[in-house]
Symmetry: C3
């Protein structure tokens, strides 16, 4: 989002929106002019610079640069953010958009997780369930992803907001007539308060965010980023294991192509004393860029072909699906890779009592169905956590901390 003009038309009614108002933290500075609310993208000081490891077409963005939006010749710097968020309308969220997992540092992740936890506790028809009343979210999906779309739409509605849906923007919209993404965004932003976009092209979310005067959330852009998935994965570990520092995580399956495990490895590098095990068939091994990145951050990692041994040591066994389409004609290689590492009762038997099995879903047979009843099978809870993370981000982008 670049700068907002909607606020003059649809003003906040704080008495309705805010269950309680937090006090200003020292250093807060919210800049609002009668004509609109000007924003900028500021990254807090602890942010690690993001290397270009998430896609070769994607230019790394210096999130700390400020990325100032200017409108009508006026500009302003956004605030420093209080360290402890509370469930309220108060301090501005330090980001205008959610484009990639890397934009969040450790402290911000922790603060977002606190908000997600508050979201879990919101009761039906309580005041908290109406904080986004009057807000409209457009789900602009250029490729269908029913799971992700329903999760975002549920999140918005659980907070009292409303939704405009298009599941097939690529085929249906003016895109088919040759309209640019930028023009589409400029039109759609006139109809809503926030855009959740799924696109087939790497970098599309950032282009949309650069154009829009309202917040944009990336719900996956091609082989690029899917930041809410990355956040819900880390949140699930925090929620299930109770910590992120010092955890041991086994990443299993297709580590070469899996956007999920690559993002997770990247985010885990923000924490201390983390140990990562890579368990994958030879043809889909974790690529060297992530390994180098982990090493550069002082994160211990090793490759293993012994799932049982890794499972016995880990706090988290993160299983992924071997995707047939990655193997082209080589069905034989696919079949070999696919059957190699299965999470089943035998794996459960060696896992520690407190450990969990995660999976981004959908799963085929890489986790056997009999695992589901074990309390350590966390993958459906993980999917549900996506709801809370998305509720938190919608709240933060529209109302602030």
């Amino acid at each position: 989002m670049a700068s907002s003009t909607t606020f003059s038309t649809w003003t906040f009614n704080l008495n309705i929106l805010a269950p309680k108002l937090s006090k200003n933290n020292g250093g807060e500075f919210i800049c609002r002019y009668p004509n609109g609310c000007f924003k900028q993208t500021l990254h807090s000081m602890t942010t690690s610079s993001s290397a270009d490891i998430f896609g070769s077409n994607e230019k790394p963005v210096d999130w700390s640069r400020g990325n100032l939006s200017v409108k009508n010749g006026v500009q302003c710097r956004a605030l420093e953010v209080g360290t402890k968020p509370s469930f309220s309308v108060g301090n501005k969220f330090q980001f205008d958009d959610v484009i990639e997992a890397q934009q969040f540092d450790r402290d911000t992740l922790s603060a977002i997780f606190d908000v997600a936890l508050e979201m879990e506790k919101i009761e039906k028809n309580s005041r908290g369930s109406q904080i986004l009343k009057g807000y409209l979210m457009a789900t602009l999906f250029y490729e269908p992803s029913t799971r992700t779309r329903l999760s975002f739409e549920s999140a918005m509605k659980r907070l009292g907001g409303e939704v405009l849906t298009t599941e097939n923007a690529r085929e249906f919209s003016s895109a088919a007539k040759g309209e640019t993404l930028e023009d589409t965004i400029r039109t759609v932003e006139g109809y809503c308060d926030i855009i959740v976009m799924r696109h087939f092209e790497n970098g599309a979310a950032r282009r949309a965010a650069m154009t829009a005067n309202i917040p944009v959330i990336n719900a996956g852009d091609g082989p690029g980023q899917h930041p809410t998935q990355a956040l819900l994965d880390v949140y699930t570990i925090q929620r299930e294991i109770g910590k992120l520092d010092g955890i041991k995580v086994g990443l299993v399956g297709d580590l070469a192509n899996g956007r999920t495990v690559r993002s997770l490895a990247y985010l885990l590098a923000k924490y201390e004393n983390v140990k990562i095990y890579f368990v994958s068939p030879e043809v889909v091994k974790m690529k060297v860029d992530i390994k180098d990145y982990l090493t550069s951050r002082g994160i211990e990692w090793e490759e293993s072909s012994d799932l049982m041994e890794v499972a016995s040591k880990c706090d988290v066994v993160y299983q992924t699906r071997i995707q047939r389409e990655r193997f082209g004609e080589r069905i034989d290689l696919y079949e070999e890779a696919r059957g190699k590492y299965i999470v089943n009762q035998d794996v459960l038997n060696v896992m520690q009592k407190h450990a969990i099995v995660m999976h981004p879903l959908p799963r085929l047979d890489e986790i056997t169905v009999d695992v589901d009843v074990d309390p350590r099978a966390a993958y459906f809870r993980q999917a549900k956590n996506g709801l809370y993370i998305r509720m938190a981000l919608l709240k933060l982008l529209l109302l602030g901390w």
Copy 2:
């Protein structure tokens, strides 16, 4: 639905949800634990056992068996239900899901119809129109059926609830990647409070219900069941004729393939002194299983080739569409069957003043358009009754009697 964990997060606010609270009936026993609400499927004693006449792939379910759900080692029996429902949040509905028309006995049908009648009277912006505020329904449609979907979504919204929609789950969702229906249900139930599912496979609704911890309503599963259609048909007869005992019904058209007329014949057998006439072209006659079932229940029936004579005797002339796709290459047979029994002015002329014409819609030319203006043309009122039946079921499954 198996057992629910959503209640702990999204608790009832009874002051908002319930216009009035009914008193406990003797024998009520609602079992709620802090960790969730455990449920079971209990069938009342008058239930007739359902023979396997609705599809050869479908195993009959003993609804009276109890079908206990167990979670965390705790289980409980659901209550006996008061005989007279009132518009309130009170006694638990005796079913967790709506899967097939056979699950309802005569008394339960009557009680549901009472609730449907109350639904007709709900006024815009009255308290009644907000009883499902805060609830989310997902319409998970594996094959499109715009009419049924819109009817359910309208029902939910008329009661203040919200909707998540997917009209093309088969193509769009993870099903295309090989995810099982069970896994999809486990994910989607995390986003909503009730699932309305349409599927192309017989028995899919029951599989979904066995998996889900929230209620599931079958909106049609392939050649199997479409229970809300069956209920709205019986409700329409009750509403239009004023009784079900002692009625005479002429079923006309494609009786061999029509799911609708087969279900209707089955349900009518629950009432007394019913007489059924079958009027159909030779190639699409009513099958012997239904005839045998009616005979076994002491229901009088006869076949006739004289629509005029039948129409003059009946309270209800239930016309159906001859479906071309049933005839394969034999277009000649289709054309012959199609033109044979048309409801037109001549038929109206012999019908009694109080009688009605019904049709499940869509209609082609088996009812001529000039019939529409006659007050006895009940088919559009019948479609609208679907709204009230669905409102009633949503209310009952989510709030109880």
Copy 3:
């Protein structure tokens, strides 16, 4: 819409719906019977008769004829309308449906624009944002048009109303089984309070309106009408230039096939001292019917091949897209036509300071992207005005003036 029976079920709660009630104007006569509300289409006296210039298949309708609806043998005349609308539930809107731009005379347009302006001022969570609470709009789209659909749905939700969506009614609905449009309308009207329909056939909207007992808005019917687009265009000129009498408008691009520019030219003829310039490649010149019509109304017009000169004189440069599909095999003619008249910095340089550039969108390269930042680029504001016009029409059709 023919006559309404929904009012008996979903009665107005005026205390909730109406922020303030306007006094009755002299001559008001609202006819409500317990069984329903009977309506008619009355056109005010200043209406110009609409020549058949919008499509050869379309019969002109004499909107002043009254078009009385009769139900149960009772009929009634609708009221004269007060000249000054206010934001309230009061006098009945003089139309039951919005089918074509021609149905509105100059005074009515002006009054609608006043309501649209009030819509711009509605704040989030204010009382105004809830005036359509409890109302359901169905978007029945037989061909996809994401932009138009989202605009209508946003309009409904900005006023507190709810939406039932179907984007692919042609493929998904019973239409595929041979159901007539009339039958579909009769079913869908049972589920909602107003229908917004997009169809691929000229005249479909009028057929729907003739059938429906609830209001119908035409969101485009094939090569026929798209009245809300025409209204938002005129509204944008009024809003941006401050007047409609005496304006100079240059229509540029594909004038032969563009439904938009043809409607706009027609509507502009309702105003005084208007001057229209046609600037188009030879192959897509404005057709003679519109030119004759303008002449007959005393509107000055001329054709020009000099965009720069026209741009320097006009208040509005209305650019349109040259549509490739109109040229069939003659790609050479398309390419020639396409590049001929581009709105770029050079054109901006000769335009007056107060003048604006409009475009119905989507645009390809007929307006260069560098024009977007100029304050005179009004096309995205124009798109947003569609929201306000649609909010106004929904309000007027459902609540009256």
